[in-house]
Symmetry: C2
């Protein structure tokens, strides 16, 4: 996918930040955690637990991480503020949070792609609404569902062909 936004410049790497997180909680720096963190931050992409597992070495191979550990560790990344989690069509989807600007998504129900966009008004509006309703915001999530530009185009092409018969 080529809809990456401009990353935020951060002084501390995700690795370092996660190290601090582990230390502060008396947790250990294991091979599995290192492997997963590197993999997750090697590429900017939305993914679910299965997709991450597919990118990992298979059982028996060097660098393998089991499914339960993947789930456990993703939760830790969220707690550490590195990833953000949300739900889409019944499964959990993760995305970069640390070092990445606030943004929202279009979700194309045809190609099932998430398309990121930035718009300051949404955050402003959310903050204003929260103030009005005395609600203390932790986070918000706007997802716009429909058909993306590419899919609209290809659908139109198909129709034309049919029309010509």
């Amino acid at each position: 996918m080529s809809n990456e936004l401009e990353p935020i410049k951060v002084a501390v790497s995700p690795q370092e930040r996660f190290g601090d997180f582990l230390q502060s909680r008396g947790m250990r720096q294991t091979e599995q955690r290192k492997n997963l963190l590197n993999l997750v931050f090697s590429e900017h992409e939305h993914f679910d637990a299965d997709q991450l597992l597919e990118r990992l070495p298979s059982k028996g191979e060097l660098g393998y991480v089991s499914r339960p550990t993947v789930y456990r560790t993703l939760g830790e990344f969220v707690d550490a503020g590195l990833l953000r989690k949300f739900e889409l069509d019944g499964r959990s989807v993760y995305e970069h949070d640390y070092g990445y600007p606030e943004h929202d998504h279009f979700y194309c129900t045809k190609c099932e792609q998430l398309i990121e966009f930035q718009n300051a008004q949404i955050a402003d509006l959310t903050a204003e609404l929260a103030r009005t309703h005395n609600f203390q915001v932790r986070s918000y999530r706007l997802i716009i569902r429909g058909i993306c530009e590419d899919c609209r185009r290809s659908r139109r092409r198909v129709r034309r062909k049919v029309d010509l018969i």
Copy 2:
């Protein structure tokens, strides 16, 4: 919950509308469908399949509807445009769509209540964003997570008590 918005006046009842839907698809008007529709529209509330099942008579009793039928029928209500479905904490939540105005939600992660609010700017902004990105919108969903007014208050009270010790 007492955060109901003003219903939209509709000429046709949900029952009638669903009847038309069934007819147009060659589907049948069964006791189960009638029971569920009446139950669902007897009260304005967000609910999941389990909560609906709890409000139904138990097995053996008059008016009982089995779990698979509840799931199947909720899907039909969504297809008929009577309900809207979304995901929250990994389960499917339903709300009135027919006869109810467009709105968004605060979700209090403490009391797990959904609080509705109306704001025209969100729809406008969504439409504008879609236009800019050549995206064809089918629906959108904004959920603002955090702590609601009541929970903030009670939390404060608890703190005060503790402070007095």
